[in-house]
């Protein structure tokens, strides 16, 4: 039986893993290659590296870091932030990443999803979507898409965007709730469920995980195929095997932690 995936997210800024709350007040935590490698050895199912400043600073992704990760990590990992075009995607994939994650770029130029899917396969293209609750009229789902690390509101409906991205060829959608990010109060179940019901590709829940129970909740009630965690493991509150054990005890099928 296909297991639910536990994914650790490493936001990278100036070569260091960093973590904020609601996309602000970032604290540096360590070296991305070392941290990724540690989570790999502990039995995490997948890793995501976001170069969170590349897009805002208009510079390419740190390809040397991607290569270094590929030499130490033998599970799938995706890379996002700072992907500007097909050449960037190719470079990241050839460096050893399994998938690329597009966010701001795709909102500004949705066709990049179609081009990437055609060139590398849908399974390589993950749409990262930052969404926030809104009262704006015309956004039926009540959630608005943001870009540039949550700094810029786009006036686009989250569900409509998710559906469009999948039509274009996105193989997976990572739904990140800006409201829940870094709060450790639990995933935004409502948003995750709406996206999971709207599309037929895997959905990764992101933002708000603080305990293994939050993952159980989003797998059982949010329709998620994978759960992204950051704070709960970066600060040493939970180790990967303990989270897996918690999921397993709650009846969620998981890959055996090593």
């Amino acid at each position: 039986m296909l297991t639910k995936r536990l994914i650790v997210c490493l936001d990278v800024r100036n070569g260091k893993v960093t973590k904020g709350v609601k996309f602000k007040e970032n604290v540096d935590l360590g070296d991305p290659v070392e941290m990724g490698s540690k989570y790999y050895r502990e039995g995490v199912d997948e890793l995501v590296f976001y170069d969170i400043m590349a897009s805002a600073e208009k510079r390419p992704i740190d390809i040397a870091m991607v290569r270094a990760v590929a030499r130490k990590v033998f599970i799938p990992f995706s890379v996002g932030g700072g992907i500007r075009n097909l050449d960037d995607m190719r470079e990241v994939l050839l460096a050893g990443a399994e998938k690329v994650s597009v966010n701001s770029l795709a909102v500004q130029n949705p066709d990049i999803i179609r081009q990437g899917a055609r060139a590398f396969g849908n399974q390589c293209i993950v749409l990262g979507m930052d969404a926030k609750k809104t009262d704006l009229p015309g956004l039926a789902s009540g959630y608005e898409v943001f870009v540039q690390g949550g700094r810029k509101a786009m006036g686009i409906d989250a569900i409509a965007w998710a559906k469009q991205a999948v039509t274009l060829g996105a193989g997976e959608i990572c739904v990140n709730s800006i409201d829940a990010d870094g709060t450790k109060d639990g995933y935004e179940i409502n948003l995750t469920r709406m996206i999971a019901d709207a599309v037929d590709v895997p959905v990764i829940a992101s933002g708000g995980a603080g305990t293994p129970d939050h993952l159980v909740d989003v797998f059982k009630n949010g329709g998620a195929d994978a759960g992204l965690v950051a704070s709960m493991v970066h600060y040493g509150t939970y180790a990967i095997p303990a989270i897996k054990a918690g999921l397993s005890a709650a009846g969620i099928p998981v890959r055996a932690a090593i």
Partner: protein
Amino acid sequence: MIVIVDYKAGNLTSVQLALAEVGRESVISSDPAVIAGAERLIFPGVGAAGSAMDELNKMGLAPVLKAFLATGKPFLGICVGCQIIMDWSLEDGRTTCLGFLPGGTDIFKAVPGAKVPHMGWNQVRMIPQHPPLAAYPPPDAAQSPSHPVFKSIPDGSEFYFVHSYFPTPFDRGDVLAETEFGGRTFASVIGRDNLVACQFHVEKSGKWGLRLLKSFCEWDGIVGGIPC
């Protein structure tokens, strides 16, 4: 030397890095002479079967691979490299493939709770292999060893899959391991004699994927032997 076949279908770096992690040097090559001279061959692949076969044919590699297989040296197919070793694939219309194993591929149909592509970590159930004739009378089936590449890997371990098509060998004896997805069981590892092929990504399957690669690198290409 271990040779990773380069036919413009997939990320070969990951395979090479995984081999390095288990202490094996390898070369990535599309040169028929290099492939023919390999100690063992790894045949990866991502993307669609049709375009993979187009590239192979364009490069004239199909007969080179066939000749290599006939030498009895170990051959490992991965992902699309596990599909196009069959006679045909339903992907891209109906694609004529390499024909190293009788059978073809089929496509998963999405059912509730099983999104296609089948992507993620799933359990692999190993099928006991018959010992060679010399080892008869056969031992108790429960005592039969699984294929040599599964050495030291617990039955039911998870491996990483990404695919919409799956191999359907004609001969049940060519199924080396099975996996359950969407309410059906499919052949996740197939092979015969010195040929073994995994539908999952060995190079991205963590500890057990590396263990399988290591065992493949130590394998003499012979299935069976004294039951353990």
